[in-house]
Every structure is written in structure tokens, then in C-alpha cells.
């Protein structure tokens, strides 16, 4: 679903809502503009990383405030706003977890999702692990700490590699269950990530 919105200036169909490559004009989109729309990419969890990077490179050299120092104030301001949005878009969408967290509420379209629910049995397992973790971290035994960290990292990695599959189901679904299942996975991911932050940096 690529944008068919015309350029404010020349009317050509825009590739990105931020800038018209046909007539090199800065656009003035509404401030509710979505991150995918800003880049002119289809709103889907699966993205092509090189395409994301090349669209970013294409846009950043057109939007950056450095190139608008002699423009009027409105254009200067717009270039700053659009650059900030572009930076946020690429930083959010580049990372698989932040991309998931951005996309899920949009897929849910206002359906409330429980941001605390965790997979069955997950919490019990984590409680046990955390209890021994406190002792483990105090003990400072590097090998045991390393082993536990590797275990948690692998679990975290498994969650991440399941995300595309979950999203394919959620994006195709009409009922809310797959969406909540996805939210639950993301909640577990956040839990594991915070736990991993407690380990000393290698």
C-alpha cells in the first residue's frame, strides 16, 4: 500500500510524504504521519533492511537542516521536524523489537492489549531463576554467571526469531487473539531484556 498522495508543489505521486523527489520540494505533512508513511515503505513487520537504509540515505541528504540555512523560517522549521521524524523512523524500524512495539498497537487499532500478561509458566520460572540469580551475581563466580547469561540470551534470541511468524499471523488475523499472543511475547521479551541488563558488562 504505497502512498498515492500527490506532491504539494508539482502533483507527482510522492514516494515519501516528507519530500518530493520529482521537483525537490520539502512537503508539509500532518504531524500524525506514521513512520512507514514518512519513509514511503509498506507498513509490514517484515522489511528489507537494505531498502530501509537506502531510503534513509536518499531522504537524509534532502531534509537535513544544514541545507536549509538560507531558506525561510517555515522551511527551516519543517526541515528540522522532518529530519527528526526521519531519524526516529529509521531508528525505530531498524531494530526488530522497537519495530514490533511500534507496529503492534497500530495493528490493534484501539483494541486494548494487556501489557502485563506473560506466557503460561513464564513468571514462575523467572522467579526461581531470579532468586538464584541474586546469589549468583553476589558470588561473582564468572563461569556460572556466564552460563546463566548464555542461557537467558538464547531464550531471548528464540523469542526474537519467533516474532516474524507471530506478525504474519497477526497481520492476517481478523480476531484479537493473535494480537494478544504477540503482545504477550513482547512482554516476555522486555522482561528478559531487563533481566539481562542486570549482568555485568563483559
Amino acid at each position: 500500500m504505497l502512498s498515492s498522495i500527490p506532491c504539494e508543489q508539482c502533483g507527482a505521486a510522492l514516494q515519501s510524504r516528507l519530500f518530493c523527489f520529482a521537483c525537490s520540494t520539502l512537503q508539509h505533512p500532518p504531524n500524525t504521519l506514521g513512520l512507514y508513511e514518512a519513509l514511503g515503505l509498506e507498513e509490514s513487520y517484515s522489511i528489507d533492511p537494505p531498502a530501509l537504509e537506502s531510503r534513509f540515505q536518499q531522504l537524509v541528504v534532502e531534509l537535513h537542516p544544514d541545507f536549509y540555512t538560507s531558506a525561510d523560517r517555515r522551511e527551516q522549521h519543517q526541515s528540522e521536524i522532518s529530519s527528526a521524524l526521519l531519524n526516529r523512523a529509521v531508528e525505530t524500524l531498524r531494530d526488530p523489537v522497537s519495530r514490533a512495539n511500534y507496529l503492534l498497537p497500530r495493528l490493534a487499532r484501539g483494541t486494548p492489549l494487556d501489557e502485563r500478561r506473560l506466557p503460561p509458566g513464564f513468571l514462575e520460572e523467572m522467579f526461581v531463576l531470579q532468586e538464584s540469580l541474586d546469589d549468583l551475581l553476589d558470588s561473582g563466580a564468572p563461569e556460572a554467571i556466564g552460563r546463566t547469561r548464555t542461557e537467558l540470551q538464547e531464550r531471548h534470541q528464540t523469542l526474537l526469531s519467533d516474532l516474524p511468524k507471530h506478525f504474519r499471523q497477526a497481520e492476517a488475523a481478523t480476531e484479537p487473539e493473535p494480537l494478544q499472543a504477540l503482545q504477550t511475547t513482547l512482554n516476555a521479551e522486555r522482561y528478559l531484556r531487563r533481566l539481562l541488563e542486570r549482568f555485568p558488562q563483559s
Binding site: 540515505q57 537524509v60 541528504v61 537535513h64 537542516p65 544544514d66 529530519s83 527528526a84 531519524n87
Partner: protein, 608 residues
């Protein structure tokens, strides 16, 4: 196209650069040193800035101010460590501002920095022969918002529009990148007089992207000097246990000796020195080896490497993934620093560009770009420290995290705690810690005009915007009513616009006096040079001029001397012109021509 120069406003030295037809280079008049030492001396209510002010460090330390950059955007508490080693006194002023006390007068660091900027600008204008209004001014990458705002305010006070506040290591990378044009990861290690920064950049095609930065705005060459000063002090004490070091002249003499020994140790493995300390009534001599110096500064170098490790971690890179290491800042000429950096990254650092000039040159190139001169590269910088607000229980809630590419924008929604509450207090902080008490308070933000509603009902969007200078602005809107909430940010360390206006107004009142005073200083200096010139070729005068003519010259020299002690710049100028007329016959000789040329040059440049 109006020129935008680059200014490296350093802790110890400042200089300007621009892009000439032949390429980027520092700005300097023929035969002069491009560097303006960041030193100020107060003399009869006037500022003397740069090289002439340096002499005052020994003769009148209470009237001399240096290392102003260390004071920028800081409060007295943060500066307590500095206070003990600075010969001038600091006091707390309104909000968290600090002022420097000299005699009965008090100055903000912004005003003092403005004097340095004015001098750099003045010298650049003379060298380029055109008036200048805009500059890219560099700051340490790890400067926070308060320190950046203070720098921008200093520029405004100096009559310079800061077209961009640019990070020093990034400026160096521009100078390096355009020179070398190689894609890959570059680490810029910048150890200046008073600050340390490490930045990791990714160079790909026309994009220069900073991916991580770390640093310490309280670590620099000054610290190395201090270690060496301490070493000297110990030695003197070993020899004379009763020695009294309290006179500020003694302290400045020790400091100056340490600086000189440090420079010599970069070139030779040991240095013999003689210390004359008249205020303490003693002379001390000895030998210092490079090993002794290196042992003393080792802890400081380790601290810089810790920052390097942190920056690499943030960039997700190992030291061997860095393709090139660029050294910046005068302190990187110290062999121990070079060796430690080379070992850490496992490769010899790049030293093709003069580490003293590279920051100014990069700023000059960026200025040229901003002025519309070139579009063949784009620099993407980051904010060094997270920005956020205080939330319940004094925790720091980050809206924009460190190493986010700028410009950046983030919005968070807040609400009220009490029914019919119409205002919310928001405290803005910057830092990397979990609790606000460990972060820098940037200011207080009062959100007024919220329509009275039940607690928890209003939805107030607070937006943080960081521009390409790394400077923060905050705005807010209540979503249910759509009302733009009235906002008022009270800077914690900076000057309000009103205060800037007041300082500017005061300086306009003194503008005429200031102009006369500056001319007086310049004419005095040029009269001295003329005297030296006359002495040099007096033998010619004895051969070619009669006794009467020689007497007339000597009499006129006495008149000029008398006017040099007076306060009337134009009268001094008139007497110097008369002296010029009398010495004109000397031009008939080949040897005298040089003197006359000097005289004419001086009377031409004295008119600025």
C-alpha cells in the same frame, strides 16, 4: 554568500578557520600566530585578550582569567574542585549561575568567553579584510545542554550569530574525512586543554555519521600540568621544607614551569630545569625524566581509555573494527598518550593533520557548507547524554536517549494528580543515571492553562525537540481541549534573554570608550615596534642625517613616549605620524627602507 567562519573556542587556545580558494586553512595575518590564547586580563576597567594577556598571569594573577571554558554552564558546587587551583575567585549568582570576581567587578563565564570570541573575530576580520557576523563554534561532544546554551549566549554577547554549535571530535572528523575520503569506522580521540572526548564515526560515501560518543568535560591537559606542578612542588619542598607556596605568583610560576617542562618532555627523554621563585625567596634546580612524568599522568590516561571502551560498547564495535584513529587536541602530542591510544586500538593513530588546527579547520568546512558553499557531505551527529524529566519518586524518565541522531523529537503524555489542577511542574534533566539527583538539572518547566478536569483526565503532550546544534526546546499541548499550554522554561545555569539584552545594552554604552581603549593599546604596541625599528637602523641615521635632524627625531620619540602614557588614542596617533615624517629621510638608504615599510604598515593597520 555571507562567509561563516569556524571557531575552535578552546580551554587554553582559540583559533578560527575558513575555506579559501586553495582550500580550508586557519585564518591568520601574514607573519602572525593564528592562535589566540584563551586568556584575559583586566586592566583599568578594560579587557586585554590573548597573547598580551599572558604576561599578566605572572605579574598580576588576580587580574587574569584563564580556563573560562571549564566554568561554562556550571554551578559553584560543581566547580569546587577547580576553585582551589584558579587564582581568581568564583561566587554564586542568580539561579545556579557562577560569576568570576576581579576586584570589585563580577563577570559571568559567558561574558568572559564573549571577550575571547570578540578577539578571535577581530583578528579574523583584519586578516580577511571583511566584516564577519556568523560562525560555527565548536564545543566538546560531551557538553550538556546548559554548556551548549552558555556557548551560544557567549557568541550572542560577542556579536556573532552561532550558525551551528558543532562537536569538536566531529569537526575533526570532517577535516579528516574530506582529506582522506575512505569509508569505514573512525575513532576521534580528543584530549584538549580541559576536556576529553571520544567519538566513533561511520564514514560512508557522503554521509558522516556519529554512532557513539563519550567523554569527560573535566579532564584535559590542565590535569597533566597539575600533576607535573605537584611533582615540582614536592621536589621544592624536599629541598626547602619551610617553603611558602601561598603567593599566587609562586603558584603561577610553578604552573608555567610545569607547562614548559611538559612540552620539552615530548621531544626529549629528560629535562633540566631551574625554578626561580622570588615570592618564596628561593631557587630550585633539578632534572625530570619522561618516565617520572608518565607515571604521574597514568591514571588520567586510563580514565580516557575507559571512556573509549564505553563508546565502543555503545557502538557495538571491538577496538580492531576501528579502521582509523584520529588524534585531536594539544595534549595528544604527549608521547605517553599516543602510545596508550595506539596500544588500545592496536594501530598507530593518524597524525597527518595538525592536532592544534584540525578542529578549527573542520568547523571552517562546516561553516562553508552552511553558507551554501558545498553540498558534497552531510554530517549526522548525536546527543551525548539522555534528556528527560523527573517522575514520581525522583526517578529520571528518559524521553530521548544518548547517542540519538539529531535533530530528534520525542513526545510523552502526562496528566494531573489532583482534581481541577490547572498547572503541572516539570523538571528537565540530562544525564545517564537512574535518579534525577545524579543528573544535571537543565531547568524547570511550568505548564499552565490546563482546563480544570478530574485528576488523571487531562492529556498533556510534552514534546522535546533537539535541533542540529544539540540544543533542546520544550513545548506542550493539552490534547482534550487542544489548548496550547503556556510554557515557561527557567534555565538553571544559563542566562535568560533579558539578562543577555541587559549585558549587551551595557556594552553598547561603553562601546565608544572600549573602542578608544582598544585603539590606545594597539597604538602603544605599534609605537614600541617603531622605536625598535629606529634603534635597529640608527647607524644609517648617523651616516645620512645631520645632528639637528637626529635630535628632532629623538625629541619626537620623547613626545610619543609621553602620549603613550596618556589616554587619548587619536593624539598619540598624531604624534606617531609626526615621527613618521621625521624618519622619512631614512628611506633613502636600503637598510632604512625596511624600517619605513614597517612604519607605514603599522600606521595602516593601526587605523582599525
Amino acid at each position: 554568500m555571507e562567509r561563516i567562519i569556524g571557531i575552535d573556542l578552546g580551554t587554553t587556545n582559540s583559533l578560527a578557520a575558513t575555506v579559501f580558494e586553495e582550500g580550508p586553512e586557519v585564518i591568520t595575518a601574514a607573519g602572525e600566530n593564528p592562535v589566540t590564547p584563551s586568556v584575559l586580563a583586566r586592566e583599568s576597567g578594560r579587557w586585554i585578550v590573548g597573547t598580551p594577556a599572558q604576561a599578566y598571569r605572572l605579574s598580576a594573577p588576580e587580574q587574569t582569567v584563564f580556563s573560562v571554558k571549564r566554568l561554562m554552564g556550571c554551578d559553584l558546587e560543581e566547580l569546587s574542585a577547580e576553585q582551589t587551583e584558579l587564582p581568581y575567585a568564583l561566587e554564586a549568582a542568580q539561579r545556579k549561575l557562577v560569576k568570576v570576581r576581579i576586584g570589585e567587578e563580577r563577570f559571568t563565564p559567558q561574558e568572559l568567553s564573549a571577550e575571547i570570541l570578540k578577539e578571535v573575530k577581530r583578528r579574523a576580520e583584519i586578516a580577511l579584510g571583511e566584516p564577519l557576523h556568523k560562525a560555527v563554534i565548536t564545543v566538546p561532544a560531551y557538553f550538556d545542554d546548559a554548556q551548549r546554551q552558555a556557548t551560544r549566549d557567549a557568541a550572542q554577547l560577542a556579536g556573532i550569530e552561532a550558525a551551528r554549535i558543532l562537536n569538536e571530535p566531529t569537526a575533526a572528523a570532517i577535516a579528516y574525512g574530506l582529506d582522506e575520503r575512505k569509508d569505514g569506522h573512525v575513532a576521534v580521540y580528543d584530549l584538549g586543554g580541559g576536556t576529553f572526548d571520544i567519538s566513533i564515526l561511520q564514514l560512508s560515501g557522503k554521509l558522516f555519521k556519529v554512532i557513539a560518543t563519550h567523554g569527560d568535560t573535566r579532564l584535559g591537559g590542565d590535569d597533566l600540568d597539575r600533576e607535573l606542578t605537584e611533582l615540582l612542588r614536592k621536589r621544592v619542598r624536599d629541598q626547602a621544607p619551610e617553603a611558602d607556596f601561598s603567593a599566587s605568583g609562586t603558584q603561577q610560576r610553578l604552573k608555567k614551569a610545569a607547562e614548559e617542562i611538559k612540552i620539552q618532555l615530548s621531544g626529549s627523554p629528560e629535562v633540566k630545569y631551574v625554578l626561580e621563585l622570588p615570592e618564596a625567596g628561593l631557587t630550585h634546580q633539578g632534572t625530570l625524566t619522561r618516565e617520572e612524568f608518565e607515571a604521574a599522568i597514568e591514571p588520567w590516561i586510563s580514565r580516557t581509555l575507559q571512556s573509549c571502551r564505553k563508546a565502543l560498547g555503545d557502538a557495538n564495535l571491538a577496538p580492531d573494527q576501528i579502521d582509523e584513529v584520529v588524534l585531536v587536541g594539544g595534549s595528544t602530542v604527549v608521547p605517553a598518550v599516543r602510545k596508550a591510544v595506539a596500544e588500545f586500538f592496536g594501530k598507530p593513530p593518524h597524525v597527518a593533520i595538525d592536532p592544534y588546527k584540525v578542529v578549527a579547520i573542520g568547523a571552517g568546512i562546516q561553516g562553508h557548507l552552511l553558507a551554501g558553499g558545498r553540498r558534497d557531505f552531510l554530517l549526522l551527529d548525536v546527543i551525548p547524554l539522555a534528556l528527560g524529566i523527573e517522575t514520581l519518586g525522583g526517578t529520571f524518565s528518559k524521553l530521548i536517549s544518548a547517542n540519538t541522531t539529531i535533530p530528534a523529537q520525542a513526545t510523552e503524555t502526562f496528566t494531573t494528580n489532583v482534581d481541577h489542577q490547572t498547572a503541572i511542574d516539570i523538571n528537565i534533566y540530562q544525564g545517564e543515571r537512574e535518579l534525577v539527583q545524579d543528573c544535571r538539572n537543565l531547568g524547570r518547566f511550568k505548564l499552565r492553562g490546563i482546563p480544570p478536569m478530574k485528576a488523571g483526565f487531562p492529556l498533556v503532550d510534552v514534546t522535546f525537540r533537539v535541533d542540529a546544534n544539540g540544543l533542546l526546546t520544550v513545548s506542550a499541548q493539552e490534547k482534550r481541549s487542544g489548548a496550547e499550554a503556556e510554557i515557561e522554561v527557567i534555565p538553571s545555569h544559563g542566562l535568560t534573554q533579558l539578562e543577555i539584552d541587559q549585558i549587551l545594552e551595557a556594552s553598547f554604552e561603553h562601546a565608544h570608550e572600549d573602542f578608544n581603549a582598544r585603539q590606545l593599546i594597539e597604538f602603544r604596541l605599534s609605537a614600541e615596534r617603531v622605536f625598535r625599528g629606529i634603534e635597529q637602523c640608527w647607524s644609517v641615521a648617523e651616516e645620512t642625517l645631520g645632528a639637528e635632524e637626529r635630535q628632532a627625531i629623538e625629541d619626537q620619540m620623547a613626545v610619543v613616549r609621553k602620549f603613550m602614557e596618556g589616554n587619548d588614542a587619536m593624539a598619540l596617533k598624531a604624534q606617531m605620524n609626526a615621527l613618521g615624517e621625521l624618519t622619512r629621510p631614512l628611506a633613502d638608504s636600503a637598510m632604512g627602507r625596511a624600517v619605513l615599510e614597517t612604519l607605514q604598515e603599522e600606521s595602516a593597520s593601526g587605523g582599525h
